[in-house]
């Protein structure tokens, strides 16, 4: 409501009230439920496609252990390889060449 001067007297001017986009209570309820369920379904699909996120703040301990660089302390003594436990490595067979004089 607004007061405006017209011909010296104040006249009450009623502003037209805008009707809201969704007037039905059930429709707005369905919209809210739809948004929530859409986020649930969308995130389920997204999480299924992106099971792991390397940039996530929390990484599972097991995944962090496998992602960490393997500590391969290999010492070569007298042509043999001594490997640390629990590390899977692929090594080529040690070849010993003997010089015949």
């Amino acid at each position: 409501m607004r007061l405006s001067p017209a011909g010296g007297a104040l006249v009450v001017v009623k502003q037209p009230k805008r009707s809201p986009l969704v007037s039905s209570v059930n429709a707005i309820r369905a919209l809210a439920a739809g948004v929530t369920m859409l986020s649930l379904a969308g995130m389920t699909i997204y999480a299924g496609d992106h099971l792991h996120n390397q940039s996530a703040p929390l990484q599972p301990a097991a995944a962090a252990a496998t992602a960490a660089p393997a500590r391969t302390t290999t010492t070569s003594t007298t042509g043999r390889l001594r490997l640390t436990t629990g590390v899977s490595t692929t090594t080529t067979r040690a070849v010993t060449t003997t010089h015949h004089s």
Binding site: S23, R29, A32, V35, M37, T44, A47, N53, A56
Partner: protein, 188 residues
Amino acid sequence: MTTDQIWIIARSTGTAALVALVLSILSGMALRSGALAWLSHNRGVRAVHDLTSILWLPLVAVHVITLMLDPYAKVGVIDLFIPFLVSYGSVAIGLGTISLQLIAVVLIATWLRSRLTQQGWLAIHRLSYVAFVGAFAHGLLAGTDFAQPLLGALAWLTAAVLAIVAFRRLTASRARQSPARSKTVAIP
């Protein structure tokens, strides 16, 4: 159910629960400020507030149960009651625990509203803002998906909208209070 499936459900329900909480808080604030008057009338906004508060419950329940089943998260029953005890991401998960407890208090207070004074109920109801901040921080610090640029941007945008509506509500309530004050002063 495989651990991967558990992990997917935990993530999706966590995000959906946050969406429901955002809708609940947004509609709650809009009831007073009229921020959603363009979308629906107050009865409709009230219906959204009531519905999303109820929708939030099963989503959080599934989120918590799946995380308890998840072998990596290592969340136990005790972690639902005492925050920051969990060995893995204690702060991030602890914030989620506090948020969950606060909203549980808010919901219980709503059900017992007739037995509470208006001021007491309002004081408890306002804890939902703190709970939202806790839940948002929980999502940022523990959430796998908030680290994705697009989802992170959406989350921050939502938080910004909530902050704007909260500011609008605060200014609207102050504007309502100030003429009342001047009237009481004016009366001899």
